[in-house]
């Protein structure tokens, strides 16, 4: 049954994660101290508040976009790495899951070019630019 595998996993992960090395060696599965989750939870609150404040103070231009993206990436990273335990998974799994979404960036680039072209045509033939 899975417990054998899970038990092994606990042992494998222990050295990589020094803080729990003593406590979790005999534990099963993804065991990390509750404190770690609480710290991440706190950071997610702080980062969300920062995101909200960007809007609340009405920041504009590149400052706004870069701050929004920064807080977004930090939040997403914390959730995936700690809450979803990706930081302690096998590299084979981490790369199989994390690399494909990065390929979506190519799609984004294509659609940015495409929508700019569409916008250009609309301005040219149909409307006054906004």
């Amino acid at each position: 049954m899975t417990n054998a595998a899970v038990h092994m996993e606990g042992q494998l992960h222990a050295p990589a994660h020094g803080a729990v090395a003593t406590g979790a060696v005999h534990a099963k599965g993804q065991q990390h101290p509750i404190k770690l989750y609480l710290v991440v939870w706190g950071w997610l609150f702080v980062l969300s508040t920062c995101s909200y404040l960007v809007d609340y103070f009405g920041l504009h231009g590149y400052l706004r976009w870069s701050l929004i993206l920064l807080f977004m990436i930090l939040k997403a990273g914390l959730i995936v790495a700690v809450f979803m335990h990706m930081a302690w998974e096998r590299l084979a799994l981490a790369y199989a899951i994390l690399l494909p979404p990065i390929a979506v960036m190519v799609f984004v680039a294509i659609m940015v070019l495409e929508s700019e072209y569409t916008h250009f045509l609309r301005v040219l033939f149909f409307a006054t630019p906004s």
Binding site: M1, Q30, S51, V80, A92, P100, P101, E116, R122
Partner: protein
């Protein structure tokens, strides 16, 4: 059992680091996600597919917004609320974000107590998570009602580009559906935990397979993913 043979590869100490390790895992004589249970690997692969679906929605929204010549409604104002005589921009969405983040926190702790076989705490934390999720969906229902009353439709709205409504209902609707399914999933697993199904290895009603406490982590992956998607929706749809 067969699973032991598959997962117990006896190479615990000699795990190769970096790319050689990945190559070894993926090599033809190996199972790609060694020591990762199938349940967990399959949930991750499902979430990857879901990532693509959400990516496509956000991409179509980006394309619509970038190519329209009509001004896009200002989300900060659209989602503002008047609370105690104060006009606060985007406040509803901010509260929804905090509710969902809190649900992720309680879920992470539920997984922890699950592996400690603390049935009551695990089930209680999962029920709290489900309650946060239900609160989120409730607030979303309020948000939808408010916008529909103000005249937002999938084909138009009073403030500008008609594509705003289509993007809004599609993206938040699909995310809300995920949250709703997650709440049901949470309650179902919480019931199994509380009943002790994973201690006595009771067979499931539907699959007739034995359940393990790992299912709490697997369902946690789903729940955190829902929160993760909201991070992107919050940034791209509401803040942008």
């Amino acid at each position: 059992m067969a699973e032991t043979a598959l997962t117990n590869t006896g190479q615990g100490a000699g795990r190769l680091p970096g790319w050689p390790g990945i190559a070894a895992d993926w090599a033809s004589d190996q199972r790609a996600f060694k020591n990762v249970s199938w349940g967990k690997a399959m949930m991750w692969i499902f979430l990857l597919s879901d990532t693509f679906i959400f990516s496509c929605f956000l991409l179509s929204y980006m394309t619509a917004r970038m190519s329209t010549t009509v001004p896009w409604p200002n989300p900060s104002e659209v989602f503002a609320l008047n609370i105690a005589g104060q006009h606060i921009p985007l406040i509803l969405i901010a509260i929804m974000t905090f509710v969902l983040i809190s649900s992720s926190g309680t879920m992470a702790m539920a997984v922890n107590f699950g592996y400690r076989r603390d049935r009551v705490r695990t089930a209680a934390l999962m029920v709290v998570t489900a309650a946060f999720g239900a609160t989120f969906v409730g607030m979303q229902a309020f948000e939808w009602t408010k916008l529909i009353m103000e005249g937002v439709r999938p084909w138009g709205n009073p403030w500008g580009a008609p594509q705003f409504g289509a993007s809004f209902f599609m993206i938040t609707g699909f995310h809300g559906t995920h949250v709703t399914i997650g709440v049901i999933f949470l309650i179902a697993i919480a019931r199994k935990v509380l009943r002790g199904d994973f201690d006595v290895e009771r067979r499931g009603f539907f699959t007739s397979r034995k359940g393990y406490y790992e299912i709490v982590e697997i369902m946690g992956l789903y729940w955190h993913f829902v929160d993760l998607v909201w991070v992107f929706i919050f940034a791209f749809f509401y803040l942008w």
